[in-house]
């Protein structure tokens, strides 16, 4: 006796998805959701104010420190710190965006388990959610630079900008920032609710070894060596060199490890791009491995739907 024919209701091939187009759709949807969560809670003017107040204040803290110590003679260094703190807002939002997406979805909205079991790639969803915050960070960075040029006397000549170098360092640098963000998301998958400020704490640690607001030559040589392995150091140097070709180098100079090793007063554009590419690739590889490990461990220990309180 043969079994009656059953109509096929489900095509198993559908579980394979449609590859890149599905991923792109997931990314777009996640980015759109992230942007709405970031921006639709208030009117645009207030949103703009909130978004730029933090990076502008960070720059003002450093400018005040310079003013107190060096007064008017700090003009050259002022450009250095304004650019550094403007770019740093980009770093913070890039690193925090992905990690906060994990915490938001797990602890506040309690949606992480549903997002996780949806057909979308979890990492792609996280990247999409993080993209919105990176956008806000980019806006903060641009405004801080504008405030620096217009109100704080930072010398800037549009015709001196090396647009090619700026584009290359921005693309590779953005990739490195996102990779560090993925790393933090992996950490936050394992930790408790109070890890909200962990991304900022990590960014604070990196702040010391990125040449963001002071030249690396101020650091001991061993720490300078660590700083040279940090892609953010090269990204900052590249962006500074592209925007302010005559400005102070964070990597080279008297007393710097770079100058001691190479004999060159400061790295040139190609050197920066190669160093950024290599260090960025290493960080990206490490973050991918750590994220997959963290994801596996979170599934194994039931951390994806675990909420904590403190």
């Amino acid at each position: 006796m043969t079994a009656p024919a059953v109509p096929i209701l489900f095509d198993p091939r559908r579980t394979d998805g449609r590859g890149p187009s599905d991923r792109l759709r997931s990314f777009r949807t996640a980015a759109s959701l992230g942007w709405k969560m970031e921006a639709n809670w208030t009117d645009p003017v207030l949103f703009f104010t909130y978004s730029v107040a933090k990076p502008v204040s960070s720059a003002l803290i450093l400018v005040a420190m310079l003013q107190v110590i060096a007064g008017a003679s700090s003009q050259q260094y002022r450009s250095f710190v304004v650019v550094g703190s403007a770019l740093w807002s980009f770093v913070i939002s890039g690193i925090a965006g992905l990690a906060w997406s994990v915490l938001d979805d797990r602890e506040r909205y309690r949606m992480l388990k549903y997002v996780y079991v949806s057909p979308s790639d979890f990492l792609v969803v996280l990247l999409g959610r993080g993209a919105a915050r990176i956008g806000v960070g980019a806006m903060g960075a641009v405004i801080t630079l504008a405030v620096g040029v217009l109100l704080l006397g930072v010398p800037f000549d549009l015709f001196l900008v090396d647009w090619g170098l700026l584009a290359v360092t921005t693309v590779i640098g953005l990739g490195s920032i996102v990779a560090i963000g993925v790393l933090m998301a992996a950490v936050c998958l394992q930790t408790r609710q109070d890890s909200w400020h962990y991304p900022e704490a990590v960014a604070g640690g990196l702040f010391l070894i990125s040449g963001a607001v002071f030249p690396l030559s101020a650091l001991p040589l061993a720490i300078q060596a660590i700083a040279l392995l940090n892609p953010l150091t090269w990204w900052m140097e590249g962006t500074r060199l592209a925007l302010f070709p005559t400005g102070t180098s964070a990597i080279g100079g008297t007393g710097s490890l770079y100058t001691e090793l190479t004999g060159s007063p400061a790295p040139d554009g190609p050197t920066i791009v190669v160093a950024l590419l290599v260090t960025g690739a290493v960080v990206t590889l490490v973050s991918a491995v750590v994220f997959r490990w963290s994801e596996h461990r979170a599934k194994d220990r039931g951390l994806i739907d675990q909420t904590t309180g403190s």
């Binding site: 809670w41 208030t42 110590i69 260094y77 702040f207 309180g309």
Partner: protein
């Protein structure tokens, strides 16, 4: 006295059951304070990652400001200013994220209605949060202060230890009282809480002179000292911890600033109590305050 003594007593009617003695009310509220402080203090031992994220990394952030001063060849007391500011930032962050924004989180977690329904004063919950937060932040602040002092060779020059300690405690009380006020306001402002918390970091650090003498900001500095306890406390502590080290720029004398901190504490506590009563009334009347994700 154990609460079981009261729980075990049979009551003849609901009215008599609700009629608590003053002693029972006080004991109950003290237990509420300890109960709310417990998860924060106990959490210190349960989550080891905080050692890295809440001690080592904030120390590195503080170090960045130290190196800015070193790059500028600033007088040594400025490095001490940055270290002192880094330690006090731990308390401020705790006030902003774990006091001001806490009720907003509690609502999202579904705990807020339990707080409103529980037979205790809401102020006990806030005091408990403050107590637990103080213990949490003290470890971080002490670690930053001690490690940075040793590593960067900060030399304190204290002539009035008593006044310094008094000002420190007053600063904490005023900051946490402000946190209680903000907790109610953040809850009422709904989704702005998160963004307000962000707004209360760097902008407040700037106007409070976290890493430099606030007097350098002129009128803005005076306004900050008059309204933000972090600015007032830092200005006073800076004068007391680095007495006679060349940099005497300050807004007011430490004694006057101590008086200001007392006034701030009292005012903030009164406002917090009023704001909480209003919130509680609104929660009971409208039944919407405990709705999540608003």
């Amino acid at each position: 006295m154990s609460v079981g003594r009261w729980v075990g007593l049979p009551s003849t009617d609901p009215r008599s059951a609700a009629d608590w003695s003053r002693r029972r009310i006080i004991t109950n509220n003290l237990r509420s304070v300890l109960g709310r402080a417990y998860p924060r203090t106990r959490g210190l031992a349960r989550e080891r990652s905080w050692i890295l994220f809440e001690i080592l990394l904030p120390f590195l952030t503080t170090s960045a400001f130290v190196f800015v001063y070193r790059a500028l060849k600033a007088p040594p007391e400025y490095i001490g200013f940055a270290v002192l500011g880094g330690a006090m930032a731990a308390f401020w962050l705790n006030v902003v994220w774990m006091m001001a924004a806490q009720l907003y989180w509690e609502r999202d977690q579904g705990n807020l209605e339990l707080y409103f329904a529980a037979p205790m004063s809401f102020m006990s919950v806030l005091f408990g949060m403050a107590l637990g937060g103080l213990v949490m932040s003290s470890t971080r602040a002490a670690a930053v202060l001690i490690i940075a002092t040793v590593v960067y060779g900060v030399v304190f020059s204290v002539e009035q230890w008593g006044l310094l300690l008094f000002v420190f405690l007053l600063t904490l009380s005023a900051m946490y009282a402000l946190g209680m006020v903000l907790a109610s306001l953040f809850l009422a402002w709904g989704r702005e809480a998160w963004h307000l918390s962000q707004l209360m970091e760097e902008p407040v650090y700037f106007v409070s002179g976290l890493s430099f003498p606030v007097a350098a900001l002129g009128r803005l500095g005076v306004l900050a000292v008059a309204t933000i306890p972090l600015a007032t406390g830092l200005d006073a502590m800076r004068q007391l911890a680095f007495a006679g080290q060349g940099t005497t720029e300050s807004v007011l004398s430490p004694t006057v600033e101590a008086g200001l901190l007392v006034v701030m504490t009292v005012v903030f506590l009164v406002v917090a109590r009023f704001a909480l009563s209003s919130l509680e009334e609104r929660a009971r009347r409208d039944g919407r305050l405990t709705m999540r994700w608003r």
